[in-house]
């Protein structure tokens, strides 16, 4: 699959934003480490909202005809893309209410926490919907797995937790629980990503050139694709990267995304300094992860352009 940068940025940025928002709310609700100050909650919420909005705006960038984008909310009963849009938009009033009330510090604790709870639920549902856009496609075996939503949720919360740790470091709270939250999500995300790479390495019940053409009694190979230059199909689905690159990128994903942050965090301890650098390195790793997620996905239509199996 052709990796569109706007979509990669969107899933990484809004994933981190939704993850940050959900964890911020839970930390606020459970008074983690003695409780974040109202100011910290409003700053964290604002960062989350900026990330989410930047991501959503970027997602419009890959549309060929964005003037009809408003219609994308209409098919929420069948389309995960539509559902994602609907949930993302319903998230905002609750999230703005929560962040706004935190900022104003009016002391309406009950209302504040209710709004936050609803926004957090919608944040989770939105990230899940984003991942289901990919996971529901039967045409791309590498995406059609429950590991995809698991990965999206884990990585969103991991990157969100990193930013939350930065915010917690700026105040009076006990830093240890935030630090261990990051480590827990780091380990979970790394484990799930490793599991995903293991899973896509071994093909199961794949479509082959035989089922694609119906010629099951002999070897089949593409003789001529029937066009002199590329088509929309070869541009959109024929994206191929050399195996060597894929392995190097996977190593980069694990090094930048998980190993370097892990070593840095463990070595620095809860009183971690330079957390912003760790977060940036981890985000680079996650960007590479998302790029690979698209680049490694092989669409069934490639069987009609020379692939033997998908």
């Amino acid at each position: 699959m052709h990796p569109a940068f706007s979509v990669i940025f969107f899933t990484v940025a809004s994933g981190a934003g939704f993850g940050l928002f959900a964890l911020l709310y839970l930390a606020d609700l459970l008074q983690l480490g003695g409780g974040l100050s109202r100011q910290q909650v409003s700053v964290g919420g604002a960062i989350a909202l900026v990330l989410i909005i930047a991501g959503l705006l970027s997602s419009v960038g890959h549309l060929a005809n964005p003037k009809n984008a408003w219609r994308a909310f209409s098919r929420w009963r069948t389309s995960w893309l539509s559902r994602e849009g609907v949930f993302a938009v319903t998230f905002f009033p609750f999230a703005f209410g929560y962040v706004g009330l935190s900022f104003l510090d009016l002391g309406l604790e009950g209302l504040l926490l209710t709004l936050g709870a609803l926004a957090t639920l919608l944040a989770w549902v939105t990230v899940f919907s984003t991942s289901m856009i990919y996971a529901c496609l039967k045409t791309i075996r590498q995406w059609n797995t429950p590991l995809v939503p698991a990965n999206y949720l884990a990585l969103g919360h991991y990157t969100g937790a990193l930013i939350l740790m930065l915010i917690a470091n700026q105040g009076e709270v006990d830093r240890a629980p935030y630090y261990f939250l990051v480590l827990a999500f780091l380990v979970a995300a790394a484990f799930l990503k490793g599991l995903y790479y293991f899973w896509i390495g071994s093909p199961v019940a794949a479509s082959t050139i035989h089922t694609a053409t119906g010629f099951t009694r002999a070897q089949v190979k593409l003789f001529d694709a029937g066009h002199t230059h590329g088509t929309f199909l070869t541009q959109e689905f024929g994206f191929q990267i050399a195996r060597r690159w894929a392995l190097a990128l996977r190593i980069f994903v694990f090094l930048a995304g998980f190993v370097i942050p892990f070593v840095w965090l463990v070595q620095a301890g809860p009183e971690v300094s330079g957390g912003a650098v760790v977060a940036l390195i981890a985000l680079l790793g996650v960007l590479a992860e998302r790029w690979l997620f698209f680049a490694e996905a092989r669409h069934v239509v490639n069987l009609y352009h020379g692939a033997q199996r998908c």
């Binding site: 389309s79 856009i133 039967k138 479509s207 053409t213 190979k221 029937g226």
Partner: protein
């Protein structure tokens, strides 16, 4: 009614006439124009509803080239329709034709991701997704003679490799052809239940190329002469 095509792989000669006729008719049809990019340039490309691929089946000397036209399968369980977030993609209840409303499409490519047959192509000029309409503006046109109310690809095929009809009617030509010639669907494991069916090439014994028997007198004379003459 469930309208669709039957494509006879035994007689398709791979001439691409169906693709040309499709482009000609639909360029000015309900979803046209179908943009071309660099038509006379170094990298000619463009939007086509119908593409013909060529496969080699079997290994030499028992191999065979099979020409393989593909357009929209007008699937019964069309994932391209369910994933569409804008409602631009729809399947007509009355005849099963899958269409794209050009006024609603936002060009997100999601339907093309869901289609395993490569039936949808984005028109970069209009930013909308385009696909085979089964010549919906032709098959219902009462101003043309009834025998011409067929998709352009079917009308033009010089080998009569394409048939058009109603799969819900067990006595229609398409239903009978599928029944009698063991017509099949592509990628059945995905469960989209495509309406279009393909008729397999008829089985024929391979033409022998070895041990063709004793050469005749003329052949033996030639061989003898060749031995005498040094070249």
């Amino acid at each position: 009614m469930r309208l669709g095509l039957v494509i006879d792989l035994d007689v398709c000669v791979g001439c691409h006439a169906c693709a040309i006729a499709c482009k000609q008719w639909n360029a000015s049809g309900t979803t046209g124009p179908l943009s071309d990019y660099q038509p006379y340039g170094a990298e000619p490309s463009g939007v086509w509803f119908n593409r013909i691929r060529h496969f080699e089946v079997g290994e030499y000397p028992h191999n065979k080239t099979i020409n393989f036209p593909m357009s929209c399968m007008h699937c019964e369980d069309a994932a391209c329709v369910t994933v569409c977030p804008t409602g631009a993609s729809y399947k007509r209840a009355e005849d099963g034709i899958v269409l794209v409303d050009q006024d609603k499409c936002m060009g997100c490519n999601y339907c093309s991701w869901a289609c395993p047959y490569g039936a949808r192509e984005l028109d970069r000029a209009s930013g909308t997704m385009k696909k085979c309409t089964l010549c919906v503006d032709r098959i219902y046109d009462e101003t043309i003679p009834i025998e011409e109310r067929q998709p352009a690809c079917v009308l033009t095929c010089p080998a009569h490799a394409r048939m058009f009809g109603d799969f819900d009617d067990p006595d229609s030509a398409v239903s009978r052809a599928v029944r009698e010639r063991e017509g099949y669907q592509l990628l059945p494991e995905l469960g989209y239940n495509p309406t279009n069916h393909y008729l397999p090439p008829r089985k024929a014994p391979p033409i022998p190329t070895e041990n063709l028997g004793q050469p005749g007198f003329k052949e033996r004379l030639k061989t003898f002469a060749n031995k005498l003459v040094k070249r």
